[in-house]
């Protein structure tokens, strides 16, 4: 049948479908899908013109060929195209609608002829038996009447003949009805079968569509016998196209992500907590030194981690199972060739429907250069800290020499006195013994001073230890005794701290020396009888918070200096988990702390300078580098404490130093 050609959906060109029950005049010719995979419909016959007048040929897009589609893959939607909807030619700019409309136009047209025919057969099948039964009843009544008539009258004979004729007619009518009924049933069976066939034919494409192989083209559609079925086919095709587009978009976005991840050297990984599997990108594998096809378990990953960081990493990973929703950590890994690499890792936990952790997504990044720079910076800062300490000690050298001179003087004088006593006769042995004892004591004192000094000069980093702050204050004041005397300054100590802090003793002493010497400088030449008050006291957590709120200069007091000198290397893997289940970072938790105040009655600090004095290279002294306080603040910051400046109520400046207590609090 010439009019029944259907030039293929995606079948080979020329594939045609014969529609036996479709009048040639009403055959809808479905063009192949457009360049964008968008089908459109055209009634291409004389009869069809009544329903949908064919647009001028030049107005219609030429049916695209397969080759052309292949040649223009990037172009999602062709330039304005025409579509026929309900007999009108219209410019359809949203192409998605075009397909939908062509489907709806199929559905909205008159019912299919097959349906109509079956309806007619049904009507006939219903009407004819009724008329037959009616006729039969009439005949029975007439028969009865005729029997009565035959027995009664002569003219009844003619009537009986008439009735016999009627009989024959009625019987033939009943036979015809029966035949029509049979024919109607046959027709209904045939049409129903065709409907079922068409629907069955669409099962395979529908399965293909749902089966996940969206990127493969839909299998060619078999012959379809009804508009509705064809519309369904179109809809399937449309859905397939839509899915392909979405998939293409997804793939594109995935590619983009992969490009970004590659460019940023981000290793991406997903850990399935239920199945205990880890998927990781090639970049991640390269980062951790795994071969692309190698199976990697959590254990393999942990074996790569530097032994010193392994426990911390393990702990952070375990926390994912117990309510931590995201984490950031930095740790070292050792590659098989021995190369050390710093990894920054960020993970985020996805929950399943029951609210249990199901997946952990994450990215890992090589932060070795940054870390190296950080460590470099820390090294430099350590050197600067040390240099500043040495410079301070240089300033103090006179006083320190004097301090060392005291025991030396005592030793020499004692020894010479002993010699003189020995020359006398008789020798006062008790006296000499006492002298020698004194010499030993003084020598030990000198040794202590030298050890203290050497510690201050030492560049080596001291491990943090429990430091009695009050004892440190006494020690420091003693060390500075001569300098203070030379400046004519009295130091009053009110030590009620009775507190132990976890600190680098030398660095803390450096801070104290700096504060005391600043006090000296502030009062130099101004008031010979200057007084520095050093006060320590313990603060409970609540007091600390209250004092923080009320205290002066708290706004920018937190030591935000870049230096994290001592702590950084000590705790290599700083895994801070920020989740509801885990308490906030320790620095933010108000804890018991100890406050040290160094107050002088010197010139004081201009309000504008209260914060600036902590900036590097800012100094109010004539001869000063402007590094002392800035270094002090970074030291205190590295100890988890704060250092800020304020005013006394009467005159002079006041420095506040607050440090968290060591675990265990009191010494």
């Amino acid at each position: 049948m010439a009019g029944g050609r259907w030039p293929g959906w995606r079948a080979a060109p020329g594939h045609s479908i014969t529609l036996p029950f479709w009048p040639a005049a009403r055959t809808a010719r479905l063009r192949p899908l457009g360049a964008a995979g968008r089908p459109y419909l055209r009634h291409a016959s004389d009869d069809g013109a009544a329903i949908a007048p064919a647009p001028p040929r030049h107005a219609l897009q030429a049916a695209p060929r397969r080759g052309r589609r292949a040649a223009r893959p990037a172009r999602l939607w062709p330039s304005p195209n025409f579509n026929t909807i309900k007999g009108k030619v219209c410019l359809s700019s949203p192409p998605r609608d075009a397909t939908t409309m062509s489907i709806s136009s199929l559905l909205q047209s008159k019912p299919a002829p097959g349906v109509r025919a079956s309806l007619a057969a049904l009507v006939i099948a219903c009407v004819l038996p009724v008329t037959g039964v009616a006729a039969f009843l009439i005949v029975r009544v007439y028969d009865h009447q005729r029997g009565a008539l035959l027995t009664q009258t002569g003219p009844g004979l003619a009537l009986a003949q008439l009735t016999a004729g009627l009989h024959a007619t009625l019987f033939s009518l009943a036979a015809a009805t029966l035949a029509a009924l049979v024919a109607g049933l046959a027709l209904a069976w045939l049409i129903g079968g065709r409907i079922a066939q068409s629907v069955r034919a669409l099962i395979a494409p529908a399965l293909a569509l749902g089966g996940g192989h969206h990127m493969a083209p839909l299998p060619p559609l078999p012959p379809l016998h009804f508009k509705e079925a064809r519309a369904l086919g179109l809809a399937l095709r449309h859905a397939a196209d839509g899915m392909r587009r979405v998939q293409a978009g997804m793939r594109e976005s995935e590619q983009r992500l992969a490009l970004v991840a590659d460019a940023a050297h981000l290793g991406v990984w997903v850990r399935d907590l239920a199945r205990r599997t880890i998927w990781m990108s090639d970049q991640w594998r390269a980062l951790f030194g795994f071969a692309p096809e190698q199976t990697v378990q959590l254990v393999d990953l942990l074996l790569r981690v530097h032994p010193d960081d392994r426990v911390a990493v393990q702990r952070t990973l375990d926390q994912c199972l117990h309510g931590v929703s995201r984490y950031d950590m930095e740790y070292r890994i050792v590659l098989p060739d021995g190369e050390l690499r710093w990894i920054g890792s960020h993970g985020s936990v996805a929950l399943d429907a029951a609210g249990r952790p199901a997946l952990v997504h994450g990215v890992s990044l090589d932060i070795t250069p940054r870390k190296r720079a950080e460590l470099d910076l820390q090294q430099k800062q350590k050197e600067v800290t040390h240099l500043s300490r040495v410079a301070v000690l240089g300033e103090l050298s006179g006083a320190l020499a004097h301090e060392l001179n005291q025991p030396l003087t005592a030793i020499l004088s004692n020894a010479q006195a002993a010699l003189r006593f020995m020359e006398r006769q008789p020798v006062d042995l008790d006296e000499v013994r006492e002298i020698l004892r004194d010499i030993v004591g003084e020598d030990q004192r000198a040794g202590q001073i030298i050890r203290r000094l050497r510690r201050l000069f030492d560049k080596k980093e001291m491990p943090h230890q429990h430091v009695d702050l009050d004892a440190l204050v006494r020690d420091t004041v003693r060390l500075l005794r001569n300098d203070l005397i030379n400046h004519g300054i009295t130091v009053l100590t009110e030590l009620g701290g009775d507190a132990t802090v976890h600190a680098d003793r030398v660095q803390l002493q450096q801070v104290l020396i700096n504060l005391l010497m600043n006090g000296c400088d502030a009062m130099a030449g101004r008031r010979p009888g200057g007084t520095i008050v050093v006060r320590t006291r313990r603060l409970s957590a609540a007091e600390a918070v209250a004092a923080s709120v009320a205290g002066p200069g708290t706004a920018a007091a937190t030591a935000a200096a870049p230096c994290t000198a001592a702590t950084a290397t000590a705790t290599a893997a700083t895994a801070t988990a920020a989740a509801a289940a885990i308490p906030a970072a320790p620095a933010l938790t108000p804890a018991d702390s100890v406050e040290l105040i160094v107050a002088d009655n010197g010139a004081g600090i201009a309000p504008a300078d209260l914060e600036r004095i902590f900036e590097p290279f800012y100094t109010t002294k004539e001869r000063g580098m402007g590094l002392g306080l800035s270094i002090c603040r970074s030291i205190v910051g590295a100890h988890g404490g704060r250092l800020w400046a304020g005013h006394n109520s009467d005159a002079g400046a006041r420095f506040y130093l607050r440090l968290p207590l060591a675990d265990g609090g009191a010494p």
């Binding site: 025991p407 005592a410 030793i411 010479q416 004591g441």
Partner: protein
């Protein structure tokens, strides 16, 4: 007059003890104080001897003590000890009449020599002081008129010129002059001039 004593002031007990021991071993009488104020509070400032003191001490340093003692007209020679050779302080101390300036740790020979020298100085100073006190007593015994005559004679004026200057006659001047010579216990004008110069050149010590 008690035996000369070496007074020690040092805020470091160990040093104080050691120095005291050393000086005692050299045969000196020693008395130690652990601060300048303790020394001032005692009666030691008026005693014979010398003072060995640390330059830098809390509350009151060596230089401040020196000043306070000078105000009191103390005759004790001062030997400064200092831990670090602070040149400025040393010069200041010596300018104010310190007997010596020694660096810690101090050698016993130098310290003992300095102390011996200082004690000698103190002895001389005491003798000088006593002599000047005697001269002053004599000077004070003069009447105002005799003092006027004395001043003019010391300037080298002749009796005639003195008489002219005072508006009196030469004979009266002669009588005054004879009384001055007698009261001042001198026989020649030259001796008189020397006496007066001794008293007037140096500031008179206070009447302690």
């Amino acid at each position: 007059m008690t035996a000369p004593t070496v007074f020690l002031v040092d805020d470091q007990p160990a040093v104080l003890k050691a120095l005291a021991r050393l000086l005692a071993s050299a045969g000196f009488a020693v008395r130690g104080f652990d601060s300048a104020l303790a020394f001032l509070d005692s009666d030691a400032a008026g005693a014979d001897g010398c003072l060995v003191l640390d330059l830098s001490m809390p509350d009151m340093g060596g230089l401040a003590l020196q000043q306070a003692l000078a105000q009191r007209g103390c005759l004790l020679p001062l030997i400064f000890l200092t831990g670090h050779g602070d040149l400025d302080s040393g010069i200041a101390a010596m300018k104010r009449g310190a007997a010596d300036f020694l660096a810690k740790p101090v050698d016993d020979a130098r310290l003992i020599a300095a102390v011996t020298r200082a004690l000698g100085q103190n002895r001389e100073a005491r003798a000088d002081c006593a002599e000047r006190a005697a001269i002053l007593t004599r000077l004070h015994s003069l009447t105002p008129r005799e003092t006027e005559v004395l001043d003019l004679i010391v300037e080298g004026l002749l009796n005639k010129q003195v008489a002219a200057a005072l508006g009196t006659v030469e004979k009266t001047v002669k009588v005054h002059r004879a009384r001055v010579m007698t009261k001042m216990q001198v026989k020649s004008v030259t001796a008189l001039v020397r006496l007066v110069d001794r008293v007037r050149a140096a500031p008179a010590p206070s009447q302690s």
